[in-house]
Amino acid sequence: MNRMMAIGFGAAAFCALAGSSFAADPAPAAPGTQASVAPAPAAPVADLPMVPPAKPGVFTATKKGATGYHLVVAGHKFTSRDDIEKYLAWRAADLTLSDKGTWFTFTQIRTKADTVPVPKRDPGAPRHSFQMANFQPVWRYKVKGADWKSWSPYSGAAFFADGIKAEDITDFEASADVVVRKGVMDDADPLGYEAGAVSDLLINQVSPPV
């Protein structure tokens, strides 16, 4: 009887664990659909760096084409541009590694009105594993009492939060389009990012916004 109870408790515990584990797994999103994606489970080794899991709705990855994603990080408590963009970059790297990719390319979402020059490819110039300065998401935001507005890093305009109190920003979204790639990275691509290197750099720096 005791043995049966023990097995029963064991099975229940296993199911509970399995349930929480499945919930944390990244859910592959079908093309054109949205899914809330949690970070890949970290290695079960004590004291290794790990990014805290995001609450539902903070991070979404929408499939775009065969290996592309539209990534969005959303929150209500604005800290800094750097914090949010680094978290988004880390999620892009993490997603790439989860998809068994080695690197990803960042696609700039530009309009005709943009004035900031496009980074040029120069095979003779220094090669990089990543250039964080070129990882420039576009933003949407809401300030108290106003509607959603957008801001593009390619517009030439100052960052929207400059001169605004952080507590007046009630909602924000930073979004990026990336394409997951396999094999040897094209290190002459100024918008190429080696996923492992980006993850290594950012893992100790980022946490999801709230």
């Binding site: 090669r127 990089h128 290594d200």
Partner: protein
């Protein structure tokens, strides 16, 4: 008389024919060599007398020339302004320290300030960069764009990005050249500064490398030959012109730096088998870097001159790229070498990492190795076995402390890269100009700002000026610690019994 003459001619002709048709020496033979030049097999494509703007010797290998990291205050400013934790004053003052015109040694003073500053470029203060390069942004590294490179097809595949050898062999794997071939101290037309330094130190006795080739047929054509490569405890002998003296005797030790390979020789070209582990001495210019290359899937090709007096060759395989990084970075300290040589080890770290192309690690899903080719120039020598077959590589007692510090910082660097937990600088090194900075900027009016602002590692038992014990010993302000044991000094004493006689006969 005429008949006699014809008979003589006929006999001579027969003799000559027999000589060419028969193997020249169908008997055991040995050829020995000592390595006189040993360097990365990088092909220089620039013009030594040409610069263009800020580019140094642009060429077919490196279209914008060699690396120029920390070459001037503008480049150093670019490097330190990437850290968001620095104030604008800090950035400006590091790149152009105020009051330099009032000090006795302005270049040296600036050098020490830059050394300490660039040693801390992590994502936050307090993370030493050379131990934790992964925690700093990639500054970028010019890479080789040429398609021609020396080496072998190590993986048996012909890939789109592979090099083509000067002889037209396709599929050549030499990603170390791609990654580091534009790095200033390794790029040059025989004048690359670290090439010169490493060869100079080797020739002055830091270590000696020997090769012994043997077989049973003709030394120039033998399909069942043997090639041995290893460390010799005997100091390399120079001739009166500073070249490598030929035909001196060197012992070859069967130690961790020794490998015996099967080889085939065709027209004097020795081609060895490819072995899982090829051990040989490392390129080094300080004792702390010396040790085993441990090439994976390694092989050797030698081109022996018919007279047996010289040879050239290539030694190749995959090397653990983290070992290459640490060997190049911590001979002294990362900042010191980087600023002096215009190289940035953070850039070199990332270049190695993304060009790693072998030694796949199924646990991590990453390549631990990078295809690497070393170039050899050899002079004939008598390579003999030591009297004690178990003789070990001698240790330099006075440099053992530095060797231990090197091993400790190497271990911390690899641990940090694997765990992504920033690691400290272990005791015994000069990282961040510890032990010299405070003293050498003493007469700079703005010294207090730099001492207060710039990070550095701290250790137990520092003196009031922050000098740790090992630097006080090196500076001679405290008595040196006596070495634990005094190893026997290696001498040019050899047991020249058996192997030498065949080699000597062969060279006549």
């Amino acid at each position: 008389m005429i008949l006699q003459k014809r008979l003589m001619v006929c006999a001579s002709a027969l003799g000559l024919m027999a000589g060419t048709a028969m193997p020249a020496t169908a008997a055991p033979w040995v050829r020995g060599y000592v390595v006189g030049q040993y360097e990365y097999a990088f092909r220089y494509g620039g013009r030594a007398d040409f610069t263009r703007g800020a580019e140094i010797e642009p060429g077919v290998d490196c279209p914008h020339g060699a690396s120029t990291h920390f070459a001037n205050d503008v480049n150093t400013k670019i490097a330190v302004q990437r850290q968001k934790f620095r104030s604008q004053q800090e950035i400006d003052w590091i790149s152009r320290p105020p009051g330099l015109d009032q000090v006795r040694a302005p270049v040296l003073t600036r050098f020490h300030i830059w050394n300490r500053a660039v040693a801390y470029r992590g994502y936050k203060r307090g993370i030493e960069t050379y131990v934790n390069p992964w925690a700093a942004e990639d500054p970028g590294q010019p890479q080789v764009t040429s398609r021609i490179g020396d080496g072998f097809n190590l993986d048996g595949k012909v890939k789109a990005a592979d090099f083509v050898s000067p002889d037209g062999e396709k599929g050549v794997d030499n990603n170390l050249y791609r990654a580091w071939g534009c790095d200033a101290p390794w790029r040059g037309n025989g004048n690359a500064t670290l090439d010169l330094r490493a060869n100079d130190k080797m020739q002055d006795g830091l270590y000696t490398m020997v090769i012994r080739v043997s077989g049973n047929k003709d030394p120039m054509n033998d399909d069942n030959a043997t090639l041995e490569i290893g460390y010799s405890p005997d100091k390399l002998v120079k001739d009166a012109r500073g070249g490598i003296a030929v035909d001196y005797s060197y012992r070859i030790l069967s130690t961790s730096q020794y490998t015996k390979l099967k080889a085939k020789i065709k027209n004097g070209v020795v081609e060895t088998e490819q072995v899982e582990h090829l051990h040989s001495p490392r390129i080094a210019w300080f004792y702390d870097q010396t040790g085993d290359t441990n090439f994976s899937k390694g092989k050797v090709r030698l081109n022996m001159s018919p007279d047996g007096l010289s040879a050239t060759g290539l030694l190749a395989g995959y090397r653990d790229w983290r070992e290459l990084y640490t060997e190049n970075t911590f001979a002294q300290d990362g900042g010191q070498q980087g600023i002096r040589e215009h190289e940035d080890h953070v850039s070199l770290y990332y270049a190695l990492r993304r060009n790693a192309d072998g030694m796949y690690n199924p646990k991590t899903g990453k390549n631990d190795g990078i295809s690497s080719v070393y170039r050899l120039k050899l002079a004939s020598a008598y390579v003999v076995d030591p009297q004690d077959p178990k003789m070990e590589v001698p240790k330099l007692a006075l440099d053992e402390e530095r060797m231990q510090a090197f091993l400790a910082i190497k271990a911390n660097t690899i641990k940090g890269a694997e765990t992504r937990v920033p690691q400290p600088v272990p005791p015994g090194t000069t990282e961040a100009a510890v032990g010299s900075f405070e003293h050498d900027i003493a007469d700079l009016p703005s010294k207090d700002f730099f001492i207060k602002t710039l990070d550095r590692p701290h250790y137990a038992n520092e003196d009031k000026d922050g000098i740790p014990p090992w630097m006080r010993r090196r500076r001679g302000t405290v008595a040196p610690t006596p070495p634990a044991a005094t190893p026997a000094k290696p001498q040019n004493q050899v047991q020249a019994d058996t192997p030498t006689k065949v080699a000597a006969a062969e060279k006549q």
